[in-house]
């Protein structure tokens, strides 16, 4: 699944990844790739602006953390982010169910 198909869902995927654990940008990308068995071909450059948008919206917070002699910007899901994740996850399931109904009927 390439970038265009993922557009609009990237923030949902990032929220889902952060619901599992606090992570830095590269680890988030790697985790998403691993979870999708490599099917998610994220435009990696789009991840960082998306994280910024989520942070500006109050859905994630971030801070520099030392890790193995390097400083990494680690993101954490906020309460608001948890709420948004629930809402978007429900919306996604509704969409899949609805589209599925139409496709099965055709």
């Amino acid at each position: 699944m390439e970038g265009d198909a993922l557009r609009g869902h990237l923030e949902l995927l990032l929220l889902a990844a952060l619901a599992r654990a606090d992570q830095h940008g590269y680890a988030l990308i790697e985790w998403l790739r691993a979870q999708s068995n490599g099917a998610l071909d994220l435009g990696e450059g789009s991840v960082y602006p998306a994280l910024r948008r989520l942070e500006a919206a109050g859905c994630v917070s971030s801070a520099w953390r030392a890790d193995g002699g390097r400083r990494k910007r680690v993101y954490r899901l906020t309460k608001l982010g948890e709420q948004r994740l629930r809402a978007e996850r429900d919306g996604w399931h509704d969409l899949v169910r609805t589209v599925g109904l139409v496709l099965e009927a055709s």
Partner: protein, 172 residues
């Protein structure tokens, strides 16, 4: 300079000052993590750099995404304001300031040294009566004065010393 440094340099140049440092530092860390991860799979540094650049996409495209978010207000009002302060705009503003200061300075300098800015008075003539040393009689004499040294009298005003330069007998 490595490809990564070139990439980061281009990214830095394309971003507004207010968000440049963090974003570039984050992408720099992304490179470090990616290169380290590729090294674990036996990929050499140069190849790992190229792979990471390919996956990130062009630096300009990455900067454009962030700038679009900044300008749309998706990153907040303050960030939107910061978006207007790109390096190019800062450079342009700095150039305008420098030129303005230079023009102002030269205007002051011209004011100090050029007679055009504060023109010296034109030569003036004055009729004086002098006592003739031989005859003891009063005799008219036309004296032409020219401006001498300029003096600042304060409050922005200027005074000029005058000196007589020619003496002649008035003709009828």
């Amino acid at each position: 300079m490595t490809d990564v440094e070139t990439y980061l340099r281009e990214l830095r140049r394309s971003l507004p000052a207010g968000c440049r440092r963090r974003f570039v530092a984050e992408v720099r860390e992304h490179f470090a993590s990616a290169i380290a991860a590729e090294a674990e799979h036996g990929v050499g540094r140069l190849e790992a750099e190229q792979l990471t650049i390919e996956r990130l996409g062009p630096a300009q495209a990455l900067a454009d995404q962030l700038l679009a978010d900044l300008r749309s207000g998706a990153l907040g009002r303050r960030a939107r304001l910061v978006a207007t302060l790109t390096t190019a705009r800062l450079a342009a503003a700095a150039t305008v300031v420098v030129v303005a200061v230079a023009v102002a300075a030269s205007a002051v300098a011209v004011g100090r040294h050029s007679p055009q800015a504060s023109p010296a008075p034109k030569p003036a003539r004055r009729l004086q009566l002098i006592v003739d040393a031989r005859s003891g009689e009063l005799r008219p004499l036309l004296v032409t004065f020219r401006a001498g040294a300029r003096r600042h009298a304060g409050q922005g005003s200027t005074t000029w010393s005058v000196r007589p330069v020619t003496y002649s007998t008035p003709t009828r």
